[in-house]
């Protein structure tokens, strides 16, 4: 096993990877940008190295700076987490050249899966059913028009180099095609440095299901029970669960076999996920995510397998600890993504300082957080600040437990997606397991959010009182006399006024 692991990421995933690695006795080296000097993930490491400026390109995406840090700290392996350098084939190559193990698939496999058209082709060759579409780059509007007419509208433009839901554009009829083609190309060029597009048939009311796969040294490996991630906005996942409420034992087995076979045919190794669209009882290949995914905890919770541990074992040549025959899963797990975004303002980013952070606790509740009270959420990076997951006997009880857990989760100082999750967990379709990828928009779930919770209600009360008291006439308060001690004494006073340690918390109803 490795002795020294550099974790080339930040936030919750860096902390999550370090947790397993340190439990395995591995010395963890963190990296951080100028904007992350006080970031929580630094405290989860044995040591950490500053690698550059606040922009991702200067730090977390800066392969040279990360390799330099790894060499200087004598790391023998690099875990890339998700995002950033996790799916950059040339980074994996450079790691190998520097004599450092990249904890992930081989560069050739990353290259094939990173190009959506080549991934589709490879999967089709391996006998995986693929979503109807074209397996070539569209060179012109006319070519796109011809293909779209053949597929039948609506169609979906996708960037061949795309990812993270970016670069997709739905077209409902031929009149919108030319405009969408140009718009999607410019988005793809701006984001991925590559404007190439292809087309797929757009499936209405489809579900998003995916299979976590783990392949060992010689390509033997396991597929896990599927996850469903249909609750999305802007093609980005908000809630994931496992198993899918729509899939029965027969389809589950087929899905798993197809996913494992598909990745094996690519010469894939280590952890990866094969995503499918599930529509009319049929599943078709969508894309491969050649990395550990955000939503991996729910799979861990229902199977008891630590995926990071398995990743590290595969990368160090020790092999997977579980076989397909021994693989068992039990119950149901749900995960909500807590993003620094304001669902009341169309998920507007909400970076800033977290002034209070209280997480739910209890059996079968897992919180992977990247921030704590006092943390700054910089505007430079992904909005995901924490993942809240629950697991237990049945879906029905887990939806209820999630609702309770969301109510007990409090973040002050920035806006989060928690109010959205509260609405979702009370939605009739969601409770019944009737999910589809555009349900957030179709059901106007955001429009049902009435408030951001009791804390903001209290702020509104105070604001009303401030205005009514004539307090505003005397002008702004001046913050000259604020000392460190005042925050403590205020906290102490609040604590005492709330009844001290033995207080019964007021019941929440909203």
């Amino acid at each position: 096993m490795f002795r020294r692991l550099l974790i080339a990421n930040r936030g919750e995933i860096a902390i999550r990877v370090a947790r397993t690695a340190r439990a395995m006795g591995i010395h963890c080296i963190g990296v951080y940008s100028e904007a992350d000097r006080t970031a929580l993930h630094r405290t989860a490491m044995d040591e950490s190295v500053e690698i550059g400026g606040p922009l991702p390109a200067q730090s977390y995406l800066n392969a040279s700076a990360i390799l330099r840090a790894a060499t200087e700290t004598r790391a023998d392996a690099i875990h890339p987490g998700y995002g950033f350098l996790s799916e950059k084939a040339d980074f994996a190559v450079r790691c190998a050249e520097a004599g450092i193990v990249f904890v992930g698939p081989p560069p050739e496999a990353i290259a094939v899966t990173g190009d959506k058209v080549s991934a589709r082709r490879a999967m089709a060759e391996a006998g995986v059913p693929v979503t109807e579409g074209v397996d070539r780059v569209l060179r012109s509007v006319d070519e796109a028009r011809e293909v779209a007419a053949h597929l039948g509208y609506p169609v979906l433009f996708k960037a061949t180099a795309g990812g993270g839901g970016i670069g997709m554009s739905r077209v409902d009829g031929p009149e919108d095609l030319a405009e969408s083609f140009e718009a999607a190309r410019s988005v793809a060029r701006a984001n991925f440095g590559n404007p190439d597009l292809f087309l797929e048939k757009y499936l209405r009311k489809a579900r998003h299901v995916e299979v976590q796969v783990l392949l060992g040294d010689r390509g033997a490996g396991v597929g896990f029970v599927e996850r469903e991630c249909s609750v999305q906005r802007r093609h980005q996942k908000l809630v994931e669960e496992t198993p899918s409420p729509a899939i029965g034992a027969a389809v589950r087995k087929r899905l798993r076999e197809v996913a494992v076979r598909g990745l094996q045919s690519l010469g894939y190794r280590n952890a990866g996920t094969v995503e499918f669209l599930f529509h009319d009882g049929r599943f078709t290949f969508n894309e491969v995510n050649a990395r550990l995914q955000v939503e991996h905890p729910i799979t861990e919770m229902v199977t008891g397998v630590d995926l990071v541990r398995q990743q590290l074992r595969v990368a160090s040549g020790e092999g997977i600890e579980v076989s397909q025959n021994e693989m068992r899963w039990k119950g149901h797990a749900i995960e909500c993504r807590i993003n620094a975004e304001d669902p009341l303002r169309n998920f507007l980013p909400s970076p800033g300082r977290v002034v209070d952070f209280r997480v739910p606790a209890g059996g079968q509740i897992r919180v992977d957080a990247g921030v704590a009270a006092g943390s700054i959420v910089p505007a430079f990076y992904d909005p995901l600040i924490a993942k809240l997951a629950v697991a237990g006997s049945s879906r029905e009880t887990m939806v209820r437990r999630m609702l309770q857990s969301v109510d007990a989760f409090e973040v002050r100082g920035i806006h989060t997606t928690l109010p959205f999750h509260r609405v979702l967990m009370s939605d009739r379709d969601f409770i019944r397991g009737n999910l589809w990828t555009t349900m957030v928009d179709d059901l106007h779930l955001v429009g049902r959010i009435r408030s951001r919770g009791p804390w903001e209600r209290q702020i509104a009360e105070i604001a009303a009182a401030v205005a009514a008291s004539g307090r505003l006439m005397s002008g702004p308060t001046i913050d000259l006399l604020r000392s460190k001690a005042s925050a403590w004494s205020a906290a102490g006073r609040r604590h005492l006024l709330a009844g001290g340690d033995h207080a019964v918390p007021p019941r929440r109803r909203w």
Partner: protein, 180 residues
């Protein structure tokens, strides 16, 4: 009235309109309606079904079950804005504010430009997402206070528009295309 209210370190943009029917409070855009009245030692506020008492002691607010530290800044009175001297009554000076902290990735307007409602003035990026800041009404751009690459904080004035009609809505951000 618009002001910035910080409660226990949590900064919020507040708008309060008091009418005969009651009080309307917007906290970062979320609306609350209620009633207020003066009581002996403070203010009673009703947002839901219950009246709750709020008292002020210096910078400390005492509500029924907790105390909070508050700070107030950037108080703006909407009525005083339109009564600015040396300006014709039909002209309205409208500051365009950043809806969120972020980085200016594109300035799509320039000084003196006539813009139509909905025209993109600039593009802000935060958390891998680009947000277009659009003109809230027709008008002339009388100031552009940022350049590409600038970092801005929430509510920072990024441009000023001089309009000829009352604004139909506040400067809003449209969630646009994302970027990585």
């Amino acid at each position: 009235m618009r002001f910035r209210l910080v409660v226990d370190g949590d900064p919020r943009r507040v708008e309060v309109e008091q009418g005969p029917e009651g009080i309307l409070i917007r906290v970062d855009g979320a609306e609350y309606r209620g009633k207020v009245r003066r009581v002996d030692d403070g203010i009673a506020v009703r947002l839901g079904s219950k009246w709750r008492r709020v008292r002020f002691v210096g910078r400390t607010v005492i509500t029924q079950d907790a105390t909070h530290e508050i700070a107030i800044s950037e108080i703006e009175d909407e009525t005083s804005d339109s009564a600015l001297p040396a300006r014709s009554r039909s002209v309205r000076r409208l500051p365009i504010r950043a809806p969120m902290p972020g980085r200016v990735v594109r300035v799509a307007t320039r000084l003196g430009l006539e813009v139509k409602r909905g025209d993109t003035l600039l593009v802000l990026e935060a958390m891998k997402m680009q947000n277009e800041i659009a003109a809230p009404q027709d008008g002339t751009v009388t100031a552009v206070r940022v350049v590409e690459g600038d970092s801005v904080i929430a509510d920072q004035i990024v441009a000023v528009l001089e309009g000829h009609r009352p604004p139909e809505s506040r400067a809003g951000a449209r969630a646009g295309t994302s970027s990585s």
